[in-house]
């Protein structure tokens, strides 16, 4: 853990940096440290923000000052190998691909000399690592999409993309959690609410988990949407198997 850096980020935050690359291995260390720190329940920690390769720790200097905090964090790092870190969950996200729900599916297919069915097959075959959330509530930065279905952003961004839209931009994929403008190629839409401010747990995905998309038809879409509207839908999750793709 000698390569871990503590970066001053104002008088009430410190960034614990585990590396300088975007990789599942570095992100796994961020996740492990986040879990260990949450379990430690250190007085004065206000909240933590895991990102690709670091963890920002927001704290109250009225409870714990910088030097003792860093000492605690270093101590925790030293014990990290002894702490049991549970496997990440895989969040199963149903998607209605193509048609009105995914107006750019055909473009993404043509761009890659594939059929729309092949694009859907590739898009649903991967467990995408949620490196971090940011940008808007519930927006996930996912890793692991196949270059075979990569596509450039729209030249003219759309003014309003409905919440739940699933898109591709370059070799990134993701879900729009709220209505927003955007330039991603839209290949489908999920009826699942990634974000609902009135829910007990407002945001569904968590950094360090994985997302796996699966295809549904209009009827299933409507059924899930109705359950979501009634606040009764529970998104499927399962612990990830080691070495799964």
């Amino acid at each position: 853990m000698a390569d871990v850096r503590f970066l001053l980020s104002g008088d009430s935050s410190v960034t614990v940096e585990f590396g300088n690359e975007i990789s599942p291995a570095v992100n796994a260390r961020v996740r492990a440290f986040t879990i260990a720190l949450e379990e430690r329940k250190l007085p004065g920690i206000v909240e933590v923000v895991p990102t690709y390769r670091s963890l920002m720790v927001h704290y109250d200097p009225g409870v714990i000052r910088y030097d003792p905090l860093v000492k605690e964090l270093k101590g925790l790092l030293g014990q990290l190998s002894h702490i049991q870190i549970p496997p990440s969950d895989v969040l199963e996200i149903p998607v209605l691909y193509g048609g009105e729900a995914g107006p750019d599916l055909n473009f993404v297919a043509e761009h890659n000399h594939k059929t729309p069915e092949e694009v859907v097959k590739i898009h649903t075959s991967t467990e995408y690592l949620i490196y971090m959330l940011g940008f808007t509530p519930g927006f996930t930065y996912l890793g692991g999409m196949s270059e075979e279905i990569a596509a450039p952003r729209l030249k003219q961004p759309r003014v309003k993309i409905p919440a739940g839209s699933v898109g591709i931009a370059g070799s990134q994929t993701g879900v729009y959690p709220i209505d927003s403008p955007g330039g991603w190629q839209l290949i489908g839409k999920t009826p699942v609410r990634m974000y609902d401010p009135d829910r007990a747990e407002p945001i569904l995905p968590k950094a360090g988990e994985y997302i796996k998309f699966y295809a549904i038809d209009q009827k299933e879409f409507d059924a899930i949407a109705a359950q979501e509207a009634a606040g009764a839908y529970v998104c499927k999750r399962h612990p990830r198997k080691e070495g799964a793709q």
Binding site: S9, G10, E17, H58, I178, P197, P202
Partner: protein, 311 residues
Amino acid sequence: MSITVLNPGLLTTVQDMGRVGYQQFGVSVSGVMDPRAAATANILVGNPEDEAVLECTMLGPQLRFDAANTIALTGGDLMATLDGQSLPTYRAIAVQAGQTLRFQAPKTGCRTYIAFTGGLDIPEVMGSRSTYLKAKIGGFQGRKLEKGDVIGFRAPGTPKNLNERYIYPEFIPRPVYTIRVVMGPQDDAFTQQGIATFLGETYSVTNEFDRMGCRMDGPVIQHVTDGNIISDGIAFGAIQVPTEGKPIIMMADRQTTGGYTKIANVISADFRLLGQLKAGDKVKFEKVSIQEAQQALLNQRAALRTLRRAL
């Protein structure tokens, strides 16, 4: 038991001390831009420091009181009047039903806070009453106030010793504001010359300043390579310097994460200045140690406790 918005002003929003605990999910903290002023306004009217207040920007609103209550105005002076009578800042004021609060023009600073005894009847969203404009949640229906809005009081009243609840206005405009910073997290992405420029030169606030960030103009701050990093967390007051070399100070509605180098971070005790900056204001950054920064914050909290006891 309410106020009616006759004119919303430029940008008037409900804010408290922010929505804490959801940054890891991409939810901005929001909250008041000048926490010291908002806390002081609350103390003056007998509220907890973190009660929700109205944050008024540059051109204040016109509010008709449909019920009596006690208010205090703090922060910048936007020249308030009550039924035409000019009002002091930093003083608890009894307002009667039927009276109208107006603001004429900004005299000092950028933002005035209006605290109401007993707080405003605004539902909490994710633990906070703060308006988060981008995600359209919190505050009054997730947006800035508009003409015709009616906001209820939760527990209007008169705090004890009403006539003694005042202090000297704390916000004093200056030709150049000295704003203290702690260096980092990416100060190593800048050349020695770049650091010297940042700490030695004067920067001015451009027209692009809002609740998300404050873009500054001034001499270019030199990077070792460029201003891009792998996205990481952003604290309130973080000073981003993208490749073009001009600082952007990240404010209450900032995104939770970002991919630009952050040379330094404004210290919490100086958010009271940061929250009052407006276009054209000049700023010099002064480096302090983390220990000094934290001590300054604790001193400020102690001053607020002393004020509460003194009233």
